[in-house]
Amino acid sequence: MSESISFAISSWPPGLVMILAAFAVPWIPHIVRQAWMLGAIALSAWGLTNGAGIHAVWQVLGLELVLYRADNLTFPFALIFHIAAALNVIYSWHDRKWSEHTASLSYAGAAIAALHAGDLVTLFIWWEMTAVTSVFLILASGTERSRRAAMRYLLVQVLSGVLLLAGAAVIAGHTGSLAFERMTFGGPDNLGVWLVFIAFGIKAAFPFLNGWLQDAYPEATATGTVALSAFTTKLAIYALARGFAGTEMLIWIGAAMTALPVFFAVIENDLRRVLAFSLNNQLGFMVVAVGIGTELALNGAVAHAFVHILYKALLFMSMGAVLHQVGTIKASELGGLYRQMPFTMVCCIIGAMSISAFPLFSGFVAKSLTMSALGDTGLVWVYLVLLFASAGVLEHSGIKIPYFAFFAHESKFETGEAPIGMRVAMGIAALLCVAIGVFPGPLYSILPYAVDYHPYDASHVVGQLQLLIFAMLAFVFLVRMKWYPPEIPSVVLNSDWFYRRLAPALGRPLLGFVMMVWTRFIRVIVWYRDQFWAIADKIMHAPITGPTVPGRAVTIQAALLALLLVIGYFLA
């Protein structure tokens, strides 16, 4: 009996059980609910023990939907998605409202299910579901500002899904197959491949398709942003690694992604938005690695995604804790919290050192794979851009985040540490960041390809430390000379400006013109209609069909009846 149950559940696509469990979340009392959610995540993770292979196929409408395909590429992503989902549950332990818990559990479930989609239609279904579930994490802030951001977010995410489905249709039309495999440009299904590529590009926050990320993530709740930071974009990285590994264009796109957000992050005042820019920059490293496409590079992309989810969540958690405690996350208002929130400060610095890729922290062991793979390609300029971006990561995530939140100047706030759940989640994430950095073996053992790589050789460690320490010296130098730009309450324009400002500015007059033509057109139609009835009334001014509403109804009925009779005559 128990075996048949285990068989049944383990052949479900992982994540599905989390989505189903989310339906019960509103009716379960507070603390039991957290245990219920952790249980659902554990059950879903248990499904991963099936190992590689195709475990669930569903025949529907003549389509063969591969609901559960597992291999070396899905496993590391699935594992870290489960860990992130569990960390979210712990982090939001204090939250008594059911709404966000439901959204966050089903969102994580949908993302995990999407990883295991073996065909483009299944991928589309989960792809859209991640959008529809995650939007509630932004709405949960409950402000007009967040509502608008949520709607913009939803529009962009759904657009990505629609492009994916359109692309899938074109590809299936040419190849007869919906299978989600490596795609190549230039074939007969070129249009479809491009549509899928752009769909992935939106979620991976390619340059100029990235506005939604920095726009929406910082508007979510303290807990919501942590959940958001883990799944959508890394699902896109997985999808790119599956569909477009070795596509050279990605190297250039990724390089631009690493470098451009750096400048925006320097001048952004909202610290969670700084982290959103930083997230974008990190995705760039992974996109470059996918573009290189060698075994070492793909290992780099996957390892980077794995550790990135942890340290980015850790950084968002520490900023969420600050937001939860003092009610603002503006650098211009914060500072000096190292006294009131020492534990959060330590966790934040561990996250900062991990993302900056200090030796002995998780970022180092992952990023080194990508940098070595890039060195092998001989693309010197790209290598120098990524090295430059590494200094940029240190600037905004390594220094700016902890410095302006916890140091900079005396604190204006009377506050203490965040709730215990938040601290436990931060503690676990911080521990994992250090553990992976010190013992990279277990991480390397789950990467898609066999790893023969040793990040800790003296030369490499010294080189990396020189880069980081001298960049920090530059910071200290600028601060001491009072040349470091002060934080200013402000908005930094990003690519969302095009649809938030430019499109309305151009669109409104255009829409006005279209509406004017339309009203004129309707007026003409109305005139003809009135003329018609005037004539009809004049002809049929008998008592039954007078110029009254019932009279007109009788006329219409008579006309329809006559039509039916004519049809009947021809059929008979």
């Binding site: 001048i267 430059f388 005396e410 020189q466």
Partner: protein, 79 residues
């Protein structure tokens, strides 16, 4: 101002001191071990240090210029 303010300053000074010591020892280490990079340029003596230092200054300077171009009032989108 207050005593805690000077505590923060003391923390800053100590941090700077440690940083300088580490930086100097890294430059010394450069001549003890044979450091080599992924690309030829990296093999140039203390290349990562120079590159990191200049990159940081460059980022901050470009950020300052960028402010003139794309920084708006906080309620820019709220109108």
């Amino acid at each position: 101002m207050t005593s805690s303010h000077s505590a923060l300053q003391r923390l800053g000074s100590r941090f700077t001191l440690v940083l300088v010591i580490v930086a100097v020892s890294l430059v010394i280490l450069e001549f003890v071990i044979h450091r080599h990079g992924e690309i030829a340029a990296e093999d140039f003596p203390i290349f990562p240090a120079i590159y990191g230092f200049l990159a940081f200054l460059f980022i901050v300077q470009v950020g300052k210029w960028l402010r003139l171009l794309i920084m708006r009032r906080e309620d820019y989108y709220d109108e």
